[in-house]
Symmetry: C2
Subunit: 235 residues, 2 copies
């Protein structure tokens, strides 16, 4: 982890542990730089990353302020590091339905930008949040990049494993989503009824060097999931 990320994490922890209310003014860049014994540019980078994450906001010529905490029970829709990292306060578990190494079909080629010759790991899981069904997930990994997966690995956080084993962290994502009525098969997996509503999301994950190594199709249980998206949208 880079120095500015370490400091960003410490500032974020400080905000949450002290329960700083929305609108609280943070110390100046100069003050932070002196407190942490680092350069001002490191502090600027740390604060920018917290703006990007929606933790603080910056008022030109006035300072850096704490943003609102999320409403309880809402899932961060924008988390780039998988649920396990995102939902630290919740118990996240998985039931693995299938793990196979297959050749890509048309949909896989489209979303993983690969060819039909390519080997692809497919992982099908039902995921639980605090023992309630959160979603059904089909995840696809290019085997040329994610060279090895097994059942024990995919029972836990695949993203944690990928970071440890291959030193790949998701750097950015493209997400596509829409709403459907559930069919029989998926409604059963989600413990819901046919024609119940559901959010379907396709997430494409890119490495820091811009390589697309994974996409997931996730169908959420509408009774057990609500989402927030608190990222900054400053143009």
């Amino acid at each position: 982890m880079l120095k500015y990320q370490l400091i960003a994490n410490q500032i974020e922890s400080h905000i949450y542990e002290n329960n700083l209310p929305k609108g609280t003014k943070l110390p100046t860049v100069e003050q932070f730089a002196s407190d942490y014994s680092v350069s001002k540019s490191t502090i600027v980078k740390a604060l920018e990353s917290l703006v990007l994450k929606g933790i603080v906001y910056q008022v030109q010529g006035s300072g850096i302020f704490v943003r609102k905490k999320n409403r309880n029970g809402y899932i961060n829709f924008n988390s780039p590091h998988g649920f396990t990292d995102n939902l630290k306060d919740n118990k996240i578990t998985s039931k693995v339905l299938d793990l196979q190494l297959i050749k890509a079909n048309d949909e896989i080629c489209d979303y993983l930008e690969c060819s039909k010759e390519d080997d692809v790991y497919i992982v099908k899981r039902v995921r639980y949040i605090d023992d309630k069904i959160m979603c059904y997930e089909e995840s696809y990994y290019k085997q040329s990049i994610i060279t090895f997966l097994n059942n024990q690995i995919v029972e836990g956080s695949i993203f944690e494993y990928i970071e440890k084993a291959f030193n790949i962290k998701t750097s950015f994502q493209d997400r596509y989503f829409y709403v459907i009525s559930l069919d029989k098969e998926i409604s059963k997996l989600l413990g819901l009824n046919v024609n119940d509503p559901a959010l379907v999301a396709y997430n494409q994950c890119y490495s820091p060097s811009g390589i697309l190594f994974n996409y997931s199709k996730i169908i959420y249980n509408y009774k057990n999931t609500k989402f927030y998206d608190q990222s900054s949208t400053i143009k």
Copy 2:
């Protein structure tokens, strides 16, 4: 508009007008600075804003590259400036159902962070994308900040008006969303059937100085809306 924003817009237009494919390497900061006759720090800010918007990505020590264009027909879920700005290639129209100045109720107090004494404009509209029903929208504005609205204004882009009249641009948003089955009243407004699925989103809009001036509750027509979210998620 600040100089770096102007340059960011020009670089973005350049990418789209020339249809630069994903992965195209952009000129260096030095080259851009020389081309636009501005300082390197202005170029760095312009490029950072394009990273934030999901237009380009940065590979440490290697350069800036073009990100993928959105799939056709997907709406940018993260646009901070209302649909009219976001969907430039589509025809966006509105049918105003109601415009009133009211006292806040419990839900309004909660989402607008105001008291029951406060006067609030409520605007109810059905919004159309290329003449198809996109969503039903209830929008709430603090009258202490957005001092005046009328029917003619709310038939167009309210955000454009707010920027012109009050010089307030949405700086960041908190969004909360989940999926429901439609009731009779809303399904009728959306031209759908009772129990059809729908995405419901609450957006809270903040000014650059961190003041919450508006929230909207938006219920989307699932047949006519698909969404993407291409913002950067670098921690």
